[in-house]
Symmetry: C2
Subunit: 427 residues, 2 copies
């Protein structure tokens, strides 16, 4: 279906980072023309007068089924919360729960301007893949692998990841499968090597938690004689298809390793603050090293939402705080992290509104008191909220139009998510 | 006008901090009954099925006309930004600008659940008072006083504050006038004493910036031999009608002075991060000392929005970060800061949904993907956003109903704000 978006103010995120006024023509799911007045026969016209168009945001690290635990058992320390609440509830996870939580989170993401996400979770991942295809969102999905905690055999554990890849890779241009060993402290070196070898052979993304807490770093130094990213590097796991979640407690030597490999990090500021990890990811050092910096919300249990607009603001402000300098990481940097860098991290041809790119486009209504006055649209980053998002188009298909989902039954998905959540937390 | 709000989930913030289901009866602008099924003849029924009712939020420190500078000249260091951009623009401020910025900010506040604010600004404050009465929001408003910077006579400067008070005090139960000497480094000790004496005599609130930056503290120690709050204490300016904005760079001795006086602080976490002050206000110490802690957004030029829901999340997460402990300042604390404590700071009989209180009530639609599932409504603090707010009632009068302003012309106010902003920043 062709779409002509008329009269928008366009935050293009193109190579020149231009802000332009005018139309956007979408053909065959891709962006064909941008700016000025475009004449075309189109099946669907979208009036974007008074609206800001920007590339759909990319959430580079999350666990979407965990939305069922949003606001469950707050006010506990991490260890108690996991042992007494989350793990017992997770032990009950059935396919219907994964489906319900995934569908709920996808609604929430689209409503807050996110059109692509990167996930790893622990069970029934077919249901997440189905939810991606059913909703039409873009995603990279992996089965979280652990062999140390569960004391399983590395090769058996690996199969969870490879069978997901075999089943779903190539099924849709919207869905990629990643290899996702959970973390260096839950995976053996054998499993990490096997997962990376498989990812390299099949050209898949490799997604892993790393250096989230100070304890993890100290344990790694004591047990392996290396800091976590040095250890990953020694296993040959760093390259341009690697996405490291958190990567907060790092030395300059480690950020340099990430940059040299052309790897990506997903910085998740809200989750870091909420779990009181104490670490603030040194984004300036990563940028200097040439690393690809993206942003994520992390799962809702540690956030508690999938609001990337909020994450973008937290990211910029925490960097201002970290460096005592509001200019070290700029507003333009943050837009880059959440759009083109996120897409690059996951290997999608999206993240900017420029010809040839996948048409993942979001509209926000500028006629909102929090977005007025308009001085420079990029700076609206600090006041945009999900209530301003009216439309979302993914791969050229309108998913949200004028605040309503085109074909998803939002009410039903919410009711089913509540039922699934009640079921999980009942004793 | 009587109002009967039917079938809400009510986050009461009453003395027992109860969550109850049922109705709320509002009579003569006050809350008459709460909970269960209430039968009454009412002029207006509000169906709140599927909605959360909570006390309207109190923004305890802001400068609302500055919304005209939202997103203007970002990416500059503070000194350049003030000297090259803000001060030249502020020098052009006419009554119409104060009106336009005030009206815009009030719309933004109401849409994000705020029903009361505490302001000080530099010019044409009659226009802000008029905007308060015209819109029906609740506010404490002061003329910011400076005698050191402008080298004016303290008594002449004081008159700006006292004449505002003489003109507007008692005009409406919605509007209070405060005495607002800007800061210890912009006001002489004489002006501070005069302002506090007048406030005490007339039972007015006393609103002042303090200890926002490390430099301010060091300068104070060097010039006065005292830290800023010690200095204020020595002038007799601390009591239960005092609201200190920021108060971040403080010693335990200073937080104890604030607590002993029963004074209030307005913590403004977003502005502190944005201006990269480096200071995180030690709320746990203030609470231990018995101080009244409230929250504010600060002006939009340093935020860039009036979204108290966001400020509440920043506040909790920054305290988790500061103490490396997510429980030191609880979610319940944060609700208290933004409701009952804010009302107490400004001397209003509001901030909870309990009989006898002013009826300042906000409704949020729980049938939103970011507010599902419902485990404990208090924990929705971390995912609530302005798009969820459907209704706002202030002093028993519906201002916002089902997402629309009842009698304010939102479109016109936005257009006028854009014109006023363009006028200010044009050269």
């Amino acid at each position: 279906m062709d779409i002509l978006i008329k009269d928008a103010l366009i935050l293009t995120q193109d190579a020149r980072r231009e802000l332009v006024r005018g139309d956007i023509l979408v053909q065959d799911g891709k962006i064909a023309k941008v700016g000025g007045s475009i004449r075309a026969k189109s099946e669907e016209k979208i009036d974007a007068k008074g609206k800001l168009a920007f590339p759909g945001l990319v959430n580079a690290h999350t666990h979407i089924p965990m939305s069922l635990f949003r606001g469950y058992a707050e006010g506990m320390h991490l260890h108690d919360w996991l042992e007494k609440k989350i793990w017992p509830a997770e032990a009950k996870l059935k396919p219907k729960h994964i489906r319900a939580g995934s569908m709920l989170s996808i609604l929430e993401m689209v409503r807050s301007g996110t059109t692509c996400f990167n996930d790893m979770y622990v069970a029934h991942m077919d249901e997440m893949c189905k939810a991606v295809l059913e909703t039409g969102i873009r995603a990279s999905v992996g089965h979280a692998l652990f062999d140390l905690v569960k004391k399983t055999d590395a090769k058996d554990e690996l199969k969870k990841g490879t069978s997901l890849a075999e089943k779903w890779s190539g099924k849709s241009s919207l869905l990629k499968i990643s290899m996702a060993p959970h973390a260096p402290y839950t995976c053996s070196d054998g499993l990490i090597r096997l997962a990376k070898d498989y990812a390299r052979k099949k050209n898949l993304s490799f997604h892993m938690h790393i250096s989230e807490t100070r304890k993890e770093v100290f344990d790694s130094l004591r047990e392996k004689g290396k800091r976590p990213i040095e250890y990953l590097d020694s296993l040959g796991a760093l390259d341009s298809n690697t996405v490291l979640a958190h990567a907060s407690w790092v030395t300059k030597r480690e950020s340099a390793l990430v940059g040299k490999a052309g790897a990506s990090i997903s910085h998740n500021p809200v989750a870091n603050l909420k779990l009181a990890t104490g670490g603030i990811c040194p984004l300036h050092e990563y940028l200097e090293a040439g690393a690809n910096v993206a942003l994520g919300t992390d799962g809702t249990a540690s956030n508690n939402c999938h609001n990337m607009l909020e994450t973008m603001k937290f990211a910029q402000l925490m960097q201002s705080h970290l460096y005592w300098d509001p200019l070290r990481v700029s507003i333009q940097n943050i837009w880059d992290f959440a759009t083109i860098n996120g897409a690059k991290a996951l290997g999608f041809n999206s993240g900017s509104i420029s010809p040839g790119k996948e048409a993942d486009i979001v509209l926000a209504d500028l006629r909102s008191p929090n977005l007025c006055p308009l001085h420079d649209a990029r700076n609206l980053l600090f006041s945009l909220h999900p209530g301003n998002i009216t439309d979302a188009i993914i791969a050229g298909k309108p998913i949200l139009r004028e605040g309503k989902f085109v074909s998803l039954d939002e009410e039903k998905i919410i009711v089913e998510a509540q039922e699934a959540a009640d079921d999980l937390v009942s004793s």
